[in-house]
Symmetry: C2
Subunit: 336 residues, 2 copies
């Protein structure tokens, strides 16, 4: 049909985005660092191991309960670097602004970026602003890229999940996606949910100090927990089993998902992480996560199995088991 | 009037962009690295001196004689890093694509990015793709950020111009801006001009090997040579004198500028640089620049004077002297 055109699905973070990246982009930019397809690139530069990551934020609406596009853009890249096992240090900010955009709103967004950067203990050190004529962009888009440093003993990658690893989730899911969605024009939910956007680098620091057996870190943003687990299962060539009754979903988020026919496993999070940890260290790492303000509700939601490499299974509340596939199709465009 | 709204001028690279950055952004993101306002940030990370830069490309049209948005995005960030006196090594790419964009066109752009990266000897190691609904962005925008390494003896910054420094320009000006402009819908010039987009890092390497007296490097993109010289005069608190008859402008570019009422000094370039060099080393550096394929037409166009700090003067062909101010107002939106 429309196979020659870019579809919204191509940006979903799910199966079709994955194929765009793996089938179209990787062969063109053929290099081993990019091929890892992790949240950021990891490389040695003059003997120092660094992480480097980029993300563009196109969220709509730009203001939402719990944050705005500004802190989302800072936290998102801080977290992508943290998911490499790195300490984020310096960030860039590239703005595309539509002609006619309110300078007062821009100030609010920039101040939120600055306070988020301060909270995460990173510095925005370089930037760029482009203004496009009215109608050529919708309000404001923000790219942030960032650099972090990696300690020698740290080795985090999406292909390092091992059978036996415990899977820890840092808190309740689906709140960012549902919050943004319910703020869209025309949707009128009386909801007290807020975006969970938050910096996770402090939590990761605590985890990596507590254990050398953290194998994989991933923040389940676009595509949600379901898609993130599938990507890890594929990268590590392992099976994954999770337990529905162990995955925290707030009643309100669960209710709205049910009403709209969404599965919370595929809804974007912005302040949550998944950690794959060797079984002997799982409790130590869990305790470390709970010490951080954004990890209080951390819990073990499943484990890595040696059967069925590349597959994710969920044991349901009623005791059955179902396959959790990668997201297909775009549920929620412009969610981050 | 419309002082509470972002105007196209805010993205021009001229006086109003400068005020947006200096008056609005700097106080919010208060830190000494950002405050330098150079093409990129320079900092020490674990004992290594690095440069870090970001730029977003929103050029319209996305295909133009001499290149497309893909090589423009690679070369632009390669050059921003090179202008820090750094060797660019790793780049990120963040894409915003409008729903319905042609996948064939995307392939052409990505391949051009890859070939430009190969030519500049840098690697694209991390990326991100967002798709927005039809009408929320115009076709495709590309952010590239990049990291480079800086040798110990190198010290390049826009505040280092000294009275007596010779100002070297690497070739003829105004070609990128005029090429893009004449490709816009509705403008029908039969022109053989092409964009000068090119990587300048090899030339910079030759220059820095030849001399330790290169003080300032700047690629005069948005706002052109006129605006770049003004920024350097302000940063370094020096005066600048240039000579109209020494500034190379191809006949065709000069003709179109005259026809449209543009001053070539304010038209964007994408493959040219300005170097401020201690007078004793000017000829050595000039020779080094001419060795590079993109510096064959390099020439000395003026010098730094101790009078009139912050001002740029041009001695005209007929012998008079006029002030070259910073660009005010936006001549050419979406030129890069």
């Amino acid at each position: 049909m429309k196979k020659d055109k870019i579809l919204l699905d191509h940006g979903s973070g799910g199966k079709i985005s994955h194929s765009l990246t793996a089938d179209l982009m990787l062969p063109i930019f053929d290099n081993p660092i990019l091929s890892r397809l992790d949240d950021g690139a990891i490389f040695d530069l003059e003997g120092k191991r660094l992480a480097f990551s980029t993300d563009t934020y196109v969220v709509d609406p730009i203001f939402f309960p719990g944050g705005n596009i500004g802190d989302l853009a800072i936290n998102g890249t801080v977290n992508d670097i943290a998911m490499c096992g790195a300490t984020p240090v310096y960030l860039s900010a590239g703005l595309i602004i539509e002609e006619g955009f309110s300078i007062a709103d821009l100030k609010i967004i920039l101040k939120k970026m600055a306070s988020a950067a301060a909270k995460a203990d990173v510095k925005v050190v370089t930037g760029d602003t482009k203004v496009v004529p009215k109608g050529a962009a919708d309000k404001i888009f923000i790219n942030t890229s960032g650099i972090g440093t990696i300690n020698e003993h740290v080795n985090i990658a999406s292909n390092r999940a091992c059978p036996g690893d415990k899977i820890i989730l840092s808190g309740s899911i689906a709140e960012h996606g549902i919050t943004v969605l319910t703020q869209r024009e025309g949707m009128n939910f009386a909801s007290s949910l807020t975006s969970d956007t938050a910096p996770l680098n402090n939590m990761v620091g605590l985890m990596l100090s507590a254990s050398n057996n953290v194998h994989v870190l991933r923040d389940p943003t676009r595509g949600g927990v379901g898609t993130a687990l599938n990507e890890i299962a594929l990268s590590s060539k392992v099976g994954i089993r999770i337990y529905e009754d162990k995955i925290p979903v707030k009643d309100e988020a669960a209710g709205i998902c049910e009403l709209l026919g969404f599965d919370p496993l595929y809804i974007a999070n912005e302040g949550k992480l998944l950690a794959f940890v060797g079984p002997d260290d799982a409790e130590i790492v869990l305790s470390a996560m709970k010490e951080d303000e954004f990890g209080r509700d951390s819990c073990i939601i499943g484990e890595v199995i040696s059967d069925s490499p590349g597959k994710v299974f969920m044991q349901t509340r009623i005791g059955g088991s179902r396959i959790v596939d990668m997201l297909t199709g775009e549920q929620l465009p412009r969610i981050c």
